[in-house]
Symmetry: C2
Amino acid sequence: MKDLPLAEVYRLIEPGPVVLLTTRSRQGRANVMAMSWHMMVEIAPPTIACVVSSNDFSFFPLRQTKECVIALPAVELAERVVKVGNCPGRDTDKFATAWLTPLRAEQVSAPLVAECFANLECRVVDTRLVDRYNLFVLEVLKAWIDPAQPKPKTIHHIGNGAFVVDGEVIHFESLIP
Amino acid sequence: MKDLPLAEVYRLIEPGPVVLLTTRSRQGRANVMAMSWHMMVEIAPPTIACVVSSNDFSFFPLRQTKECVIALPAVELAERVVKVGNCPGRDTDKFATAWLTPLRAEQVSAPLVAECFANLECRVVDTRLVDRYNLFVLEVLKAWIDPAQPKPKTIHHIGNGAFVVDGEVIHFESLIP
C-alpha cells in the first residue's frame, strides 16, 4: 500500500460508502466491524465523525485506546463485509471468519485490512458526544491507498442487507472542493 | 407528498447521498444549501448529525431558529444541486436561481423542496459540537416522500463537482437493520 495525501481523504468518506472499522484492545485482541454511520467534519486535518454503538464489541476498545482504522472495501468484498456485520465480536475472530487479513499499521495499534483499497489510521480527538450518542470524532493521522485497486466501486447500505453499488460518474463545473 | 414513517428515515440517509438543507431566518428569508457531510446517529427517534460551515449563510439561521429541512434530490436534479452549491446565499434567492420550489412545512418554519423525492423536517437537539466543529445534531420530526418518484437514484459527491450516481442494488442475508 502507498501513502495517500491527507488532503485527499475527504473524497473517500464524503460519498458515504460502507466501511470497516478496526480496533485493538489493550489486551491485544483485534476486532473489525462494518459501519455506515460516519461523515467528514473537516478537510484539514482530515476529521471524521462516526457512531459506534455501545452494543458493538468495538465500542470499548475504541473508547479505551482512542485508536482505530477505517478501511474501505470495494464491492468485491461485499459478502465478507456482510459476514463481519452478521457475527458478534465478543466470541469470534472476525478477521478469520470473514477471510480478512490484519496488517500492522504505522501510527496506531489497530490493524489495517489488507484486502481494502484504502486504510485510514485514526485517533479519537473528541468524546463529548459519546455518552449521549455514541458519537466519536476522529482525526486521520495517516492514509494508505492500494495502487492495485485503481477504480474501486464502493457499496452503500440502504437497510436489511441491501446495498447500492456505485454506478456512473457525472461531472459539473463546481466551485466546491 | 405523503407521510413517510419515521422508522424508514435511516434508509435515506445511511447511504450518504448529497442532500439539500433549507432554513428560514427569523426575518423570514428562506435559504437552501447543498450538503454531503451528514450521518445517522439514531434510528428511533431518527437523529442525524451534520456539519454546516460557519462560512455558509445557512449556519446563522440554523443556529438561531434551530430548525431546518433536509431534502433529498434524485439524479435528475444534479445540475440544480450544483447551482445551489455554487452560488452564495447572502445576496441570492437560491430557490429562484436553481429553479427549486419552496413549500410550507408542517412542523418547522424552513421550507420543503417540492422537486425532491423526500423531505425531512428537523429540529436541532444538540449544539455542543457547534463551536468546535460546526456539527449539529438534528431530530427528524416529520418525514415526507413523493409517491411520483418511486425509484429515485441519488448522487454522492466525490469532490470538485464529480458525483457517483447510484448503480445496481445487491442483496445479502443480514441480521442488521
